[in-house]
């Protein structure tokens, strides 16, 4: 043990374990989290070379292999508690993401919640056995948060009882979905529904995109990887262009809105239903903000206790950099912020679970406030943490610039949260709308 760190721990006036229990929500939660971590970290199947030393193709391959093992081991261990699944995945992934992420986080939940029973009976077994590997294609090359602007069309043909899915322009090409480039063989595509000559807005359709035997793209489907990004090297974020692809009427997700064989459209009971999913995902992101900042602070503060630089009084040994007030002023407010955001993350998760109960009883009254709060907090925390990680990196001097510090990986993976799942400025304006209306 480095003597400086040893002395820091000797001199502390608090017992970290007590705080760990508070952060986990109880001693039993801490014990169980550590048990799951050990399950993964002691598993040879998850050992691999440092991803920083691999090419992009090799990183994708390692991630694919790990994903497949991760999801099958989750099933083998019978881990079913959503929080424990989340722990298991985050330990397996470390600071990275996986090509199957969208299949499990979006495709399967959408099939479960937006399909008729007979549709579910057909697709869920295929999806859970990974014969169908899905993704969720919403964002287009020139259309992001403002989903009403999406251009992809789904036109109903009553003569064949099929939908014709089409990407009418270059700007309508689906762009970004994780797993779309090389992994998925189906996609839930969000498209403008046209039937009987009228547009009924956005609806979701299950579209086969690769042959389930050969994995070759199907005729009329142009699909591929969008190329290297700032981070997410392990994920094949992809593009998808559809040239008048025909799918059966039954491939439209019809639990709420429906199209009858003759083309008649039936409206959904309430359009608030998609709010719930957005609130859930943005609540998760608030928690992710706390984690990214807590990790960054751990690295920067421990290293600031180990690192000795220049001198405070001439002739004396170089002090620990953590003794410099300027260094403290970089890191301690961020440390406080990491705690603050951890507690906000807990609050959002608890509130969401409570309100979900209300929603299931048909009480939507608190959803607008929670939706406004989730949008605002997603933006507020991700912007703050995005800047905070960079401060932590610079607080480590030149070594912070090396990939070995872990900070570049944390940064390039986390910074995407400022633009995905709703661009932050738009999120802030959504909250403002609620505030002014209130």
């Amino acid at each position: 043990m480095n003597p400086d760190l040893h002395r820091e721990r000797e001199n502390a006036t608090i017992e970290p374990e007590i705080i760990t229990n508070i952060l986990d929500g109880g001693a039993e939660k801490t014990r169980r989290r550590r048990e799951i971590e050990s399950l993964v970290l002691n598993d040879p199947d998850f050992q691999h070379e440092d991803l920083n030393f691999l090419s992009r193709g090799e990183r994708y391959e390692v991630a694919l292999k790990k994903s497949i093992q991760m999801y099958s081991k989750l099933r083998d261990y019978g881990i079913s508690d959503p929080e424990e699944i989340y722990f298991y995945k985050s330990v397996t992934r470390k600071n990275n993401h996986d090509p199957f992420g969208v299949h499990y986080a979006m495709f399967i939940p959408m099939v479960s919640s937006q399909c008729l029973p007979e549709q579910r009976d057909k697709w869920l077994p295929l999806a859970s056995s990974l014969k169908v590997v899905g993704t969720y294609a919403q964002t287009e090359l020139a259309h992001g948060t403002h989903i009403r602007g999406l251009e992809t069309t789904a036109t109903y043909d009553p003569s064949t009882q099929e939908f014709v899915l089409n990407s009418p322009t270059i700007t309508s090409i689906k762009w970004w979905p994780g797993g779309l480039g090389k992994t998925a063989n189906h996609a839930i595509v969000l498209a403008q529904l046209y039937t009987q000559g009228k547009c009924y807005g956005l609806h979701a359709f299950i579209v086969p995109i690769r042959c389930m035997k050969t994995h070759q793209p199907l005729p009329g489907v142009v699909v591929g990887d969008i190329g290297p990004k700032f981070g997410f090297d392990e994920v094949d974020n992809g593009y998808l262009k559809l040239d008048n692809i025909r799918i059966p009427r039954e491939n439209m997700l019809m639990k709420y809105s429906k199209v009858q064989p003759d083309g008649t459209y039936l409206k959904p009971p309430s359009d608030k239903l998609t709010y719930g999913t957005m609130v859930f995902i943005r609540s998760i992101i608030v928690g992710e903000s706390a984690i990214a900042l807590a990790k960054s602070c751990t690295i920067a503060i421990r290293y600031s206790a180990v690192r000795h630089q220049s001198e405070l009084r001439a002739g004396e040994p170089e002090p620990q950099i953590l003794d410099y007030q300027a260094q403290q002023h970089k890191l301690f407010p961020l440390l406080a912020t990491a705690y603050a955001f951890t507690f906000v993350g807990q609050y959002m998760k608890n509130t969401y679970n409570r309100i979900t109960g209300d929603i299931n009883q048909g009480d939507f009254s608190q959803l607008p406030e929670l939706h406004a709060l989730a949008a605002g907090l997603k933006a507020f925390t991700t912007w703050t943490v995005n800047a905070g990680i960079e401060v932590c990196r610079m607080a480590c001097g030149g070594h912070g610039y090396s990939r070995s510090s872990g900070l570049p990986d944390i940064y390039v993976t986390f910074t995407a949260t400022c633009t995905y799942e709703g661009e932050n400025t738009v999120m802030m304006l959504q909250t403002a709308r609620y505030l002014v209306k209130s």
Partner: protein, 227 residues
């Protein structure tokens, strides 16, 4: 804001707009001049800071709403008025969220039983709140919640709080309980053996698989033999 202005009572996290709406109304003449609202910040009192964040948020919400009204009075459309007030609207949302975070942090403290932990986390909460005030002092000054001399006091108070935190800094990050494999960082290793491991890590870089990289034979050697 509009519902409160129209006399409706709000519930939930925006309910602060109910009372702060009165608080921010111009006082009738003859009573305190509007500019001299009472300063509510007490540097050592977290609850007073929560109150100040609340009033700052309410003030910025009102500023945004008034901007919208002014734009509309210039017979702008709703959409144009909204777009031309974006800066105020985003500031209002930011302030609202900041208030929520400070409020939840303060509320969390009341659940903590261990006195040593309570004391350290209270110090962190105070630092978070004061640092936020210092970083957004313009808002607090404009809302009359802060005086210029208080700004200097806040800076001094932040320094004192940092010195208080210093002995427990490492313990506070240890408490996040990230295993080395989760951090994946030579700088942040639990045992602090940074430099030895940085060296090991560097030596295993693919570029070092051979003592002489193949590109030397392809490019450098031919170049040097020509010179």
């Amino acid at each position: 804001y509009r519902q409160v202005r129209d006399g409706k009572q709000l519930t939930g996290i925006v309910s602060y707009l109910n009372e702060s709406h009165q608080h921010l109304q111009p006082q009738p003449t003859g009573s305190r001049p509007a500019g001299s609202r009472p300063t509510v910040i007490s540097i050592n009192d977290l609850q007073s800071l929560v109150e100040a964040y609340k009033l700052r948020a309410a003030n910025l919400v009102e500023t945004a709403a008034k901007s919208l009204q002014t734009e509309l009075q210039h017979s702008k459309s709703q959409e144009d008025a909204w777009n031309n007030s974006s800066l105020e609207l985003i500031r209002a949302s930011d302030a609202h969220c900041h208030y929520v975070v400070v409020k939840l942090f303060a509320a969390k403290l009341s659940e903590i039983g261990n006195t040593a932990v309570y004391s350290v986390l209270s110090t962190l909460a105070l630092l978070y709140a004061l640092h936020g005030v210092a970083s957004n002092s313009g808002d607090f000054l404009q809302a009359g919640l802060l005086t210029v001399p208080q700004l200097a006091q806040i800076t001094q108070r932040i320094k004192a709080l940092m010195a208080e935190i210093r002995p427990n800094a490492v313990a506070l990050v240890d408490a996040f309980d990230y295993r080395d494999e989760m951090l994946n960082s030579t700088l942040g290793r639990y045992d602090g053996n940074v430099y030895e491991n940085m060296f090991e890590w560097a030596k295993s870089s693919p570029l070092n698989r051979t003592e002489v990289h193949e590109s030397y034979y392809k490019h450098m050697k031919p170049l040097q033999s020509r010179l």
